[in-house]
């Protein structure tokens, strides 16, 4: 049974996927609150001929890297950054979503919304309405206007950390959420993307070379089979 080619093929398609993940990470180099992704290769066993088994490569799992990104000072009144673990909770037409991108702005109705228009939810799960005046954010998420507290922004975490799924618009679908403790909030700052260009580029080179190696292997496999057929065909 000729399996060498098939095994290499599973590796090749996995590498192609990983290249796409790296490309997506680099494309989101300057997306505030973006979290980089990685791909995990796992072994995939197949029953082979003559009672043996064959291991194939399977790139079917991913990791969301939740490392803290850097901070940029913007000076915006409604630019919030989270220092530590936790997410903002926003309401979208599809349901509640988590995000680390803290660039909000008061809407025409006076509620705080994301650039896509999704309202930010406070610790009680209701949208935040902003009164007039000097708005200040305390480290624990309390918002005050001219020194009068009017809302408290809640920080949330998914009950199951593995359930985090990326969604368009720097959002995460986290399933069930629970209040997160221990993180502090900063005003006038935005958290950068946590993509490290150096790591991504080195990963990219690795993927590219591994892919070329695989193609070279397929090339030689092709020659070998050709040789066998020619020898047997004489």
């Amino acid at each position: 049974m000729e399996t060498g080619g098939y095994v290499t093929l599973t590796r090749q398609s996995g590498l192609m996927r990983e290249m796409q993940v790296v490309a997506n990470n680099i494309a989101n180099l300057s997306t505030a609150g973006f979290r980089r992704e990685g791909v995990v290769f796992s072994e995939y066993l197949r029953q082979g001929g003559e009672g043996g088994s064959i291991s194939m490569a399977n790139a079917n799992a991913r990791v969301v890297d939740l490392t803290q990104g850097g901070m940029s000072t913007t000076g915006g009144t409604f630019d919030f950054a989270i220092q530590g673990d936790g997410f903002f909770l926003v309401n979208t037409p599809q349901g509640q979503r988590l995000t680390r991108a803290g660039s909000f702005t008061p809407s025409a109705q006076g509620t705080l919304v994301t650039p896509d228009g999704n309202p930010l939810l406070d610790a009680g799960g209701t949208p935040v309405t902003v009164p007039a005046g000097q708005i200040a954010l305390a480290a624990d998420g309390t918002l005050s206007a001219n020194g009068q507290p009017f809302a408290r922004i809640g920080l949330w975490a998914p009950v199951d950390p593995l359930a985090l799924r990326h969604q368009s618009g720097t959002l995460f679908d986290g399933g069930a959420v629970q209040p997160a403790e221990g993180a502090t909030l900063l005003q006038g700052m935005l958290e950068d993307s946590n993509v490290d260009p150096v790591t991504e580029v080195s990963r990219m080179i690795e993927v590219q070379r591994a892919y070329e190696l695989g193609q070279g292997f397929l090339d030689r496999e092709d020659e070998r089979l050709r040789g066998v057929i020619q020898t047997l065909g004489r």
């Binding site: 997506n24 300057s30 997306t31 992704e37 079917n60 660039s103 618009g169 580029v201 090339d219």
Partner: protein
């Protein structure tokens, strides 16, 4: 090979960032100009293997599955609402707004537009107009024989005459504010229009709750910070180069594939 398109979205985004930076730098000395900032968000994700897919007969599930991101898109170009510094001009009709608020002007079409540029002028018929000649609401007319004009912090405009010791009150300049100033639609020439996103206009007098005060003889400088824009430019340029590198690598992988016999 989607990495090619993904890298292209990254390059487009960084290019837009450079556009925004160059617009800011071009307006470094525009009176009352506020810097703009480009914000990005990631694009949709393609579900290749849904989390929760059963992978074995005993009910083993994929805990995370695999989703592939499709790149980046511009989410917003928003105005950075920070007060620029005030520079003294000494002009009678130069007013800077300290704090929130916009001066309302009337366009030739009769529609209202709003500006932070307080370099006002006196038109041929004595009306107070902007440097583009649009009348400032509520139309205030300066008599021909007025010796000098004084505008106080609350926007009251007084005229002094040669033979009178007491100034004469000509009118009061108002200010306009919006619940979402970032939602105003920019129309160039330092003018903004009300939009569905900005919320309805609220007018008030300078110095009232939620409004700034006026300062005669000063103009508000552009709030563009050159140092910050240049760092932004460097970041955008490097980001662009990185995405171009991904494009090259993806291309080489493709060519490795095509070279297999």
């Amino acid at each position: 090979m989607k990495a090619l398109q993904i890298a292209a979205t990254g390059m487009t985004a960084q290019q837009m960032r450079v556009d925004v930076v160059s617009h800011n730098l071009a307006n470094m000395s525009t009176t009352g100009f506020n810097a703009r900032r480009a914000d990005f968000a990631d694009l949709m994700y393609q579900q290749l293997a849904r989390p929760g897919t059963v992978t074995a007969e005993d009910g083993t599930m994929l805990p995370t599955g695999i989703q592939l991101g499709m790149g980046v898109r511009p989410a917003a170009v928003s105005v950075v609402l920070s007060q620029g510094s005030l520079s003294q001009t000494g002009g009678d009709l130069d007013v800077a707004i300290e704090g929130r608020g916009y001066i309302e002007v009337t366009l030739p079409s009769g529609a209202a537009a709003y500006t932070r540029d307080g370099s006002l002028r006196r038109s041929a018929d004595g009306e107070i107009v902007t440097s583009d000649g649009y009348p400032v609401a509520p139309g205030i007319t300066i008599p021909d024989d007025a010796r000098s004009i004084s505008i106080n912090a609350n926007g009251e405009v007084y005229a002094y005459f040669l033979n009178q010791t007491q100034p004469q009150l000509l009118g009061q300049l108002g200010l306009a504010s919006f619940s979402n100033e970032k939602g105003l639609e920019a129309m160039g020439s330092n003018l903004f229009l009300e939009s569905a996103a900005s919320g309805p206009v609220q007018t008030g007098t300078p110095g009232a709750e939620g409004f700034g005060t006026l300062r005669q003889g000063y103009l508000e400088d552009s709030s563009v910070d050159a140092v910050r824009e240049v760092t932004e430019l460097i970041k955008a340029q490097r980001g662009y180069e990185l995405n171009a590198k991904v494009l090259t690598a993806a291309d080489q992988m493709l060519s490795a594939t095509t070279q297999v016999r």
